[in-house]
Symmetry: C2
Subunit: 238 residues, 2 copies
DNA sequence: ACGTGATTCAAACAGGTGTTTGAATCATGC
DNA sequence: GCATGATTCAAACACCTGTTTGAATCACGT
């Protein structure tokens, strides 16, 4: 029977962490459904039954993989934003500052004890588009507060952008961030172009923030009721 | 034995198409690895062995799911771009026009015979960040030409943006597009905010193109050698 | 030293996986 | 008509899945 309280006193040696690290890496490489418990326990060099003993089930394991990192990450984002807002007094922040609060904690995670955080970030970038039911439970819990706080901050930073337009632009922003986090695998997947400095998270930020800020600040498109009357230059099918 | 030539003369009634449609839908809902052949054949109302008879293997099936749609889609993009470049004479296109050539064929696919194309688009949006080995073979083949052509077109449209910067901005652009294609599932996954008109592909374009064009046209960030000497406003850890 | 509870381990569990087989069915050409 | 090849079908194949079991091992308090 596993100990009901998770006190660190004479706790599990490190098998739990070994399992979490192995699962993190394999989930990133192969995806969630395609990774077997046997592959995880083999990589972690622990017994097969250890996963069910320490976590209860495979689903509980993946849940803990995300809980462990996502909680601190999003809390850091909220703290960062709160500090920026405090420093600004009552004045609204710039979109660049809001994005900075969103992204900087990611960079800090990307250089934790030897590459563990970087692996998780690439996993997270992929998880945001995973259809697994587990994600539909885990992600909203962690992201709910962050999205609401940042939506408010962006609305104040961009008072001229209508609310619905802003929601969509946040949608696009998350997409670009997810791709950036997932590494340049996706781009290399598609093209032969290779981007330099893909491992340098700070360099990515210096490229990503101006890009997204310009998009967020763009003038709102005209005439956006349900169905626009005219198309741009669309002719017959291509 | 399956017929070696795939001539439409008195061909397979429609089992192949039924299988492809069912696979498309289930892959989108559950992902590739989590979808069993038995689930596919049950939804398609065909015998289990039909998949291996008509396609050879599960991997060959998913390959054909993508081949069938991705070839025409990317060819339409190339044709669209060629036509725009012809109409422009020798002059460079605007970034908006280049994006339009990239995205408009997607819209046309999204309203094909009753929702089939729309399902595939959501699947595609997810596939771009899937780690499955199959994707690492299928996607580059289809996207190679498209990325190269559009990279050239964007480089001409944005002569002031350095090449490496442009590659990264295309990376971000693909990310935002993938999210937009995957539907607002991802955003609802993260937040409670719901975006209206998510099913109207044209409305999405009218929001997505100005956003991306503004990002692509943004002034390039300063001092981006390998490791930048100064950070923007980064202080201690959050 | 013993005992107690946490942890490991090998083995088995029931069920699902992709794939193959060989006979049955269908449609066609002669 | 029959023969031929394509397609369907039910059944089985060998293998892998997540989970459970019960004994063995370990670490510790008394």
């Amino acid at each position: 029977m596993p100990p009901l309280d998770r006190e660190p006193t004479r706790g599990s040696p490190d098998t739990k962490d070994r399992i979490l690290a192995a699962a993190e890496a394999l989930f990133m490489e192969q995806g969630y459904a395609a990774t077997s418990l046997r592959a995880i326990t083999a990589k972690a060099k622990v017994n097969l039954a250890a996963v069910n003993y320490h976590f209860g089930s495979k689903e509980a394991l993946i849940r803990e993989v995300f809980d462990r990192r996502l909680g601190p990450l999003n809390q850091a984002r909220l703290d960062y934003l709160s500090r920026l807002e405090f420093e600004a007094g009552g004045r609204a922040l710039t979109p660049e500052k809001v994005l900075e609060a969103m992204i900087t904690p990611v960079v800090q995670l990307s250089r934790d004890p030897l590459k563990r955080g970087a692996v998780f970030l690439r996993l997270l970038g992929r998880a945001l588009s995973e259809p697994a039911d587990t994600m539909k439970q885990v992600l909203p819990i962690h992201y709910r507060d962050v999205v609401l706080r940042f939506k408010d901050a962006l609305a104040r930073a961009l008072p001229e952008v209508p609310e619905q337009e802003l929601v969509w632009r946040m949608h696009f922003t998350f997409g670009a961030m997810a791709y950036a986090m997932a590494g340049n695998d996706a781009l290399q997947l598609i093209t032969t172009c290779e981007a330099d400095g893909a491992d340098d998270a700070e360099a990515i930020i210096r490229r990503l923030v101006p890009f997204l800020a310009a998009g967020l600040k763009a003038p709102a498109p005209q005439g956006l009721r349900t169905s626009p009357p005219q198309m741009t230059t669309n002719r017959e099918a291509a």
